[in-house]
């Protein structure tokens, strides 16, 4: 890389529940090498790991469990405390549970419950499109107090993070966490891979960890 840092190798967890292609392309665009992680041994060559997810919470939780990767990811994120980024349902899986699929268990690495947007006058659910995120903490090149627009496509969100975990807050009828971080674990509800230049800046910020 231009600044002489070691090459970033991003492992994208491939558990057949996500639009991996777009995430791969976006990380390559910001200069990373990407590989699809289907087995624990493939984590060894990674510097960063991404947990994507498109689908119902229960479907994704079941797929992740069936992939046999949960324990290796737990070791990566909790024991070794290496950088992990959850995207969309990949963020939600880091919670304890979701109203979408009450019988399914989340990983609980960030904790909390994923709730459906209540909706109401002028607030349609699903929440689809570009919405403004206010950064409550700095991340990458985004300074605390600034705002940027990102692309969202979801009906459920993380409403109750612990104090200080929210990096970016967003409003859609209720306030919810568009971006959280707890130590080495970062998660975004929006799609950075679909959010044009603002999204690519989030990915670069993650790679600089």
């Amino acid at each position: 890389m231009r600044d002489g840092r070691a090459k970033r190798v991003v492992g994208i967890v491939d558990y057949k529940a996500g639009n991996i292609q777009s995430i791969e392309n976006a990380f390559m665009h910001v200069g990373a090498t990407v590989l699809r992680v289907r087995s624990a041994s493939e984590l060894e060559s990674c510097t960063h790991v991404v947990l994507p997810g498109v689908g119902a919470f229960g479907f994704c939780a079941q797929r992740l469990s069936a992939s046999g990767l949960t324990e290796s990811l737990r070791c990566w994120a909790l024991t070794e405390q290496r950088p992990l980024l959850g995207i969309c349902v990949g963020m939600q899986l880091l919670g304890d549970r979701s109203e979408e699929s009450p019988s399914a268990e989340g990983l609980g690495w960030i904790g909390g419950t994923i709730r459906r947007f209540p909706g109401g006058a002028g607030v349609r659910v699903p929440h689809v499109g570009w919405n403004t995120v206010r950064f409550e903490r700095s991340f990458g090149t985004f300074d605390r107090g600034t705002t940027a627009d990102f692309y969202f496509d979801h009906s459920f969100a993380y409403h109750d993070p612990k104090a200080g975990e929210t990096i970016g807050a967003c409003m859609h009828g209720v306030r919810f966490s568009a971006m959280v971080a707890a130590g080495n674990i970062t998660a975004v509800q929006f799609h950075p891979e679909k959010s044009q230049s603002a999204g690519l800046k989030i990915l670069s910020g993650f790679l600089s960890q």
């Binding site: 777009s22 349609r124 699903p126 570009w130 496509d153």
Partner: protein, 267 residues
Amino acid sequence: MTATLLKKRLIPKLLIKHRQMAGRERPVLVTTKRYSEVLDVGEPVSQAKIYEAQLADELIVLNIDGTPIAGDEVMLSLIERLASETFMPLAVGGGVRTVDDFALLLEHGADKVCVNTNAQLEPDLITAAADRFGAQCVVVSIDFRTEAAGAPKVLRCDLRQTTELDVERWAVGAALAGAGELLVTDADRDGTGSGLNIAVCKTVIDAVDIPVIVSGGCGRAEHFAEGFHLGGADAVAAGTFFCFRDQNLIQTRAHIRNAGIPIRMET
């Protein structure tokens, strides 16, 4: 406090037909007028890149040949190229028949899948797809025509015929079945530039609580503003309008912004 800062969306619509060119079958971008009078415009991927540079909020890609998507390598490789060469959200439709077709399109880089005829024939398809992929992934496309002195009726594109199904009734049915979004298009206004059908648009939007994309008839920037202001649309999609003018999205955006509608101006 503002309930939401969600922006209104401007969505170029790429209509695709399969054409035999230089001994190979290729996807060609076309425009239509009243769902007939097809005109070949050009190459879809380069057009999509122009739209991306002009801040399109999303893209809708529809195979209007209606050939089944399973096994349609021309469409699937087009979607793969669009997903790898642009960073925009992609909604893809045409020939989607099963839940596995949804999976196939998502694997090739689509973010959302549009269903039309097969959802009319089998509303359970909407429910099954929403259960597996989430409602946000399922866009039900409703084309309609208004016969003389009658209520607008849903169109069956494969048969080129209107049905007995009332537009509002089907919109409510699709939302109840689990659709996450509706794409509502007036076939009579398609490609005419005569303006959106605000009355039908408003009827549908008032009847459902999911986001609605309206389409068919945009010929001037004011038509988009009307769709948002008078119709209450969450998004306006257009094909012909964007195909034939340079820098149009940026000009159109400025016009919509000046009309007081919240819209994204930069990333």
